[in-house]
Symmetry: C2
């Protein structure tokens, strides 16, 4: 490549310095002549306007980092295109000059997906922020990359519809498609994989495709290869998503929230399995372990019993809710659950769920001045008790703070690792812990990432999870769509030995 | 290619002769020496045994055709491997000799997917018929290609679990994955796309991959490219599916079936939209038009009003069913629906739904001696009334028999075209009609195939639907995984100009 930096791609856990790779930028690259640089920048400016091409240090730093603890790797230049035609024309310029392209939504990712590890050009898509083509009767809508989850739901407020996939952060919906996001509602409504109907994508060479055909939005299709779900979860390594067509849902007539304490992890998970088996169409079923509950009690002045706890949410008609809650209460009681509380009005529901909503901050408050990193394994339901118990033992043995919160209906849980950024020895212990945790999940038929993606930190684990031949297939797909390896290079797949 | 026949790949509608391409077989191929043939056959025999390699005409004919009206294109040889290792070894032999590979499940496809249009080797997978690794608590199971939908549900009978995807035919579950099948239950349980957790796949060169990593079965994953959904719906053109891991569901506590007549297509579809909008978790919602109802009345001696009719099915607890049925009845009444009948016990439910279940045979009985071909468009819900009304006018104008049955909750419907196989002029009219119908669906943001796949007959329409660039992307994926174009060649993508 004309322009390649060879940054060390180690995880923050080995390389957390707070420093960035800023000085070694496009402007100073030895392999890129000043004349070529001028030509590239003026091409960018002529496409999207002077104001939409930024070389400023602050802007670049802001775009070199997501919400993970991976160190900042700023791009050399940040572009703010206004439409797909501009994205396509800008990508063509990058393609001609072999410049890496890194798509940027809201920067709320958790695996370092936006770091410009080989330098290059960040496509910040916030100026493309229109909600397009809402079809209320068909339960679908198309959005540009600048539209976030909350913005869409605000837009939909008076329609009786909503988009339920909720990863916590107010992420860009196109970014959520790119990382195959999910969150608390997935047990009922599915993840982005099940809720994206079509994508407009700009490929590395500037080609614009529509993964299900331009403007198409049938509920189901068997028309050729499923390009939509190839792009969903590809983390910007196959193309830039410039439009996403989403399934919408009717806002439920009513909601009920509930909380219940359990004598053991096993009892909480057994209840979950039985609730699902009973066909209760539960909307959220979240597990917090005793350490997490204790942290929440302290942080929010609550008084939950310090034991494994389930936070539940039910959606439906008034009558069906009654039955859902009754069935669930029976099941939890038969598993030794106690202190079953439930609430219907919004205010009480919010109070009941406050502990769950504040979990991240409650964890951070355990050790002021520390940073947090969320693990993200997912295993078959029946393996949850064992992996959680073993993981808690591991945390204690290794003197680590990692309260657990989990989307237990999917078998997906997070240890919120609270780590002192100035203590390399502790970071090393966390690093070894997270590897053990991931391998524990793999040994139980699970995955090293349920919803955060691979990004930078899980590329080696992905190889273990998938096996050599499946990784080769992924690499061949990458080569087919992006033969010059320009799209978000260094993510998901490890750079090949040169 | 060493071995290429250049059959005309025209649809049956232009080429319905009942004749096959049998005479022009491997045995007679000019480009394949007798010595090479001997070597290939003895390699096959040494891998899977003498009895599992068939050159018999009857066996080859049986494997050259599915349930569509595409003409029979028998393979040159049919193999009956017993395990994935044999499939892999056999594929390597084919790969070395550049022989086309055509996977065969139960032959219940509807778009000519199993025809050996370039000759080659059929892999009939019926000997691999084990249900493996049932995990009741995790709601998942792994099956080999010889396991059909009904066989799996019989196996599950005492577990309280079932697999709900139901395309009508008792198809192989791996074949259903290959064609992205769905059917009547998709509105509630999704299609194969949403219900396959992992696949074991043998690629064209014999490589064995597991699309989500070997033995893995987490409910959700963000681990790299979604290979599972690249293979689902690839119709055997990317690899041979040798195992499928499926999501299972709890058998509902109770079921209610219902039937309701409507004054117009619009009223039936409006009811459907409102039922979905009201959040009724309806399991099946099937539309039959007046012509179809009339045919059913005659075929099964029933007396339904000859008007657009909805057949509904509700799954849930006793109490929730009551509410679902009440809400639905209210909605249908407000749209002018009448004769709302419902039933809870199995026998009455079966009687109520008999018309829907017998639709195919009732359509055929309209014109004894004729053959049937099912169209398969899918459009956004709101477009259904218009497309159905226009299509019915088109049928009448062109003197064609095509009663309509539709999975109306998904916007997917079929015209069951009943055609005289000895009348080329009528076939021509049907051909033009089906093209107009598909283009009508495309003009309404829909697809030319909701669930039957592309196979042979819809390759040109797929190009119109996807656009040139997306087809190029599909072709590049095909080239990446199957560079010699050996896997089920001639399906989905049109042969390139040489």
């Amino acid at each position: 490549m004309l322009y390649q930096k060879k940054n060390q791609l180690t995880s923050w856990l080995y390389d957390y310095s707070g420093s960035s790779c800023l000085p070694d930028s496009l402007l100073m690259s030895h392999s890129f002549s000043l004349a070529a640089l001028d030509s590239v920048l003026s091409a960018f400016r002529s496409i999207c306007g002077e104001d939409s091409v930024s070389l400023g240090e602050a802007v670049r730093e802001q775009h070199g980092k997501d919400e993970s603890v991976h160190r900042c790797c700023p791009p050399d230049v940040v572009l703010f295109p206004h439409c797909v035609e501009e994205v396509s024309a800008l990508a063509k310029v990058c393609h001609n000059h072999r410049l890496p392209i890194i798509p940027f939504g809201t920067g709320t990712g958790l695996e370092g997906g936006v770091g410009a590890v080989e330098g290059g050009v960040c496509f910040s898509l916030r100026n493309m922020d229109q909600v397009l083509d809402l079809h209320q009767e068909d339960f679908d809508v198309t959005v540009e990359p600048g539209v976030t989850r909350k913005a869409l739901n605000a837009y939909l407020r008076d329609t009786g519809l909503w988009f339920p996939v909720d990863p916590g952060a107010d992420a860009s919906l196109c970014g959520m498609a790119a990382t195959s996001a999910s969150g608390t509602n997935a047990v009922r409504y599915g993840t982005m994989r099940e809720n994206v109907l079509n994508l407009e994508v700009v490929l590395a060479d500037g080609t614009i495709i529509h993964t299900a055909g331009k403007g198409r939005r049938p509920r189901k299709t068997s028309a050729g290869y499923n390009l939509t779900n190839l792009i969903v979860g590809s983390e910007g390594t196959l193309g830039i998503i410039t439009k996403t067509t989403l399934r919408l849902y009717g806002i439920p007539e009513a909601m009920v929230s509930a909380v219940c304490s359990f004598p053991s992890v096993q009892a909480a998970v057994d209840s979950t399995v039985q609730i699902l088996q009973a066909g209760v169409p539960i909307a959220r079923i979240e597990f917090l372990d005793d350490v997490m509950i204790d942290a929440c009690n302290r942080f929010s002045s609550l008084s939950y019993p310090v034991t494994p706890t389930l936070f539940l949410e039910f959606h439906g008609s008034e009558r069906s809710l009654e039955e859902q809650v009754n069935t669930t209460e029976d099941i939890t009681q038969s598993n030794g659950g106690s202190d079953f509380q439930w609430a219907r009005d919004t205010e009480t529901r919010n109070r009941l769920w406050k502990a769950r909503h504040d979990a991240w901050y409650a964890a951070l408050a355990l050790r002021p001045g520390c940073k947090a990193y969320a693990t993200d394994v997912c295993v078959p339901l029946s393996r949850l008790p064992q992996i959680i118990v073993e993981t808690k033992e591991d945390l204690i043995e290794n003197r680590l703070t990692g309260p657990i919160a989990g989307h237990v209906g999917d078998g997906n849980f997070h240890c919120l690792m609270v780590v002192d950024p100035s203590d390399p020895e502790e970071q090393h212990r966390v690093h070894l812990f997270t590897e053990r945790l991931a391998r524990r999940a793999l040994a139980m038929d699970g995955t090293c990432t349920g919803e955060h993606g691979v990004g930078l930190g899980k590329r080696a684990l992905l190889r273990e999870e998938m096996g050599h031949m499946a990784i080769q297939v992924m690499q061949s797909l990458k080569d087919a769509l992006d033969p010059k390896n320009l799209m978000n290079p260094g993510k998901i797949l490890q750079p090949r030995e040169l």
